[in-house]
């Protein structure tokens, strides 16, 4: 699996894949998870946070989407600022160097244990690699609280922004996660992610730091 960076500058290269992606999101969030508020007649799950400024990281095998997530700039409206402001004690984070992660998923037949690194770990390591590459300092995430121990356990420094609140009878919490080399090295070594995963097709003009191997070779 390779994780492709898709943003305003190279969207035209991924028009068909993005179409598949929004249909897949419908299957995962509306059909499977039953978040019926997201249901639309065209069976694409797409909302006001999917804008030209949204960045998508899609784990692809050939043309098939295996995993995905989106990154929304926090200077624009986010899930935290618009939908769940009660989760942030000091108000939502709004900083140019902080993006909000959401719609983090792995397709059903690739969840659970597999040989090699798990897709869930690869897509999260890819987010950290992206943040390091373009110089972000943190991510915010609104997540179901039961996920929090796992997030911490992969070596990410996640600080809560407020208390957990039951939303649709699931305990939900907002956190801010530092983007740094250690967070990337830790998730790679603890979750067996071999290293850099990102493909920057059509993004040669983007200024970025090249991320090397997270662990020294034996």
């Amino acid at each position: 699996m390779e994780v492709h960076v898709i943003r305003r500058d190279n969207r035209h290269l991924y028009a068909d894949i993005l179409e598949d992606y929004f249909r897949l999101r419908h299957r995962i969030y509306v059909v499977e998870r039953k978040w019926m508020d997201l249901d639309r007649s065209d069976k694409r799950e797409i909302d006001r946070f999917d804008t030209d400024d949204t960045v998508y990281l899609l784990g692809l095998e050939g043309r098939n989407i295996v995993a995905g997530m989106r990154l929304v700039p926090t200077i624009a409206p986010t899930l935290l600022s618009e939908l769940f402001p009660q989760l942030a004690l000091n108000g939502p984070v709004r900083r140019p160097d902080v993006y909000e992660l959401s719609r983090i998923f792995v397709v059903p037949n690739r969840r659970g244990e597999h040989a090699g690194p798990r897709a869930e770990a690869v897509i999260q390591a890819a987010a950290m690699e992206y943040g390091l590459s373009i110089g972000l300092s943190a991510f915010t995430i609104v997540l179901e609280s039961w996920w929090l121990p796992r997030l911490l356990d992969q070596g990410w420094q996640a600080r809560p922004l407020g208390l957990p609140v039951d939303i649709n009878s699931m305990s939900t919490v907002a956190v801010i996660v530092d983007v740094n080399d250690q967070a990337w090295t830790e998730i790679c070594s603890r979750r067996s992610v071999p290293g850099s995963m990102l493909v920057w097709q059509g993004l040669a003009a983007v200024e970025r730091r090249v991320i090397g191997d997270p662990v020294p070779a034996i």
Binding site: W146, L148, P149, R150, R159, P160, L163, P164, S171, I218
Partner: protein, 241 residues
């Protein structure tokens, strides 16, 4: 209401900041002070019971009355206790009373809860934690549970961060430090299908030494044989093909 949420929110966030700098005894001391403020006089943090493990092996922090812990271990209550059983099946924090059992058909569960009450462990609140490598619970006890929902949310965060801090302090500084360079080197050759004798020729050491390192590596990886050791080392990223 907004005020109490602010108050507990600050308190939980302060706790999160503080534990990052504390050693395990410091974390436990601070955790005990917080739960006491919510009326809990006893608690335990432990991995979920599984066959062949005893409570003392699974315990991360023990704040049970010593006599209760001793009785619980001796009578092997962990396999009958309805609280961890329920904790294994849910991701949401819960009160002990939500861990339902039927007195008639499950007298063992009823026995545990009855004996617990003799130690003033009558009601409780339990936070399940689900990690990649298994589950754990933080279970807190009181005589009468009378806790604000906001304080419960605060305890949930306090519990998660206390447990995680203690867990990470117990972790070896690097996963790779688990195996020596020699053990990794030999496993790498074993992964290529080389026999112990062939490895001994390649590395110019005795076959006996090769076998010794393979046994050491297998023990550290909890592997039953060399094939299993290779598979586990690969899966954990300790060796690469």
């Amino acid at each position: 209401m907004a005020n109490i949420a602010q108050l507990w929110g600050r308190r939980a966030l302060d706790f999160v900041d503080a534990v990052e700098r504390l050693s395990a005894p410091g974390v436990i001391q601070l955790f005990e002070a917080e739960i006491k403020a919510c009326g809990f006089h006893a608690y335990i943090m432990a991995g979920l019971p599984s066959p062949g493990t005893s409570l003392s092996d699974l315990t991360v922090a023990n704040g049970w009355p010593p006599e209760w812990f001793e009785l619980y271990t001796r009578e092997n209550f962990s396999v009958m206790d309805p609280v961890p059983k329920y904790g294994a099946s849910t991701v949401q924090p819960f009160e002990w009373s939500e861990a339902h059992y039927d007195k008639e058909s499950n007298p063992a569960a009823h026995l545990v809860m009855t004996r617990a009450a003799e130690f003033r462990l009558m009601e409780g609140y339990c936070i399940p934690l689900h990690y990649d490598d298994g589950g754990a619970v933080i279970s807190m006890a009181t005589e009468q549970l009378n806790i604000d929902p906001v304080a419960k949310s605060a305890l949930q965060l306090i519990g998660v961060y206390a447990h995680n801090r203690i867990r990470s302090l117990g972790r070896p500084t690097s996963e790779r430090a688990l195996l020596t360079a020699r053990e990794r080197e030999i496993l790498r050759w074993a992964a290529d299908g080389k026999t112990s004798w062939e490895v001994s020729v390649i590395l110019r050491i005795s076959e006996r030494t090769v076998k010794f390192h393979l046994i050491q590596a297998s023990r550290k990886l909890n592997a039953v044989n060399r094939t299993s050791a290779v598979a586990k080392a690969l899966a954990r990223g300790l060796i690469k093909l």
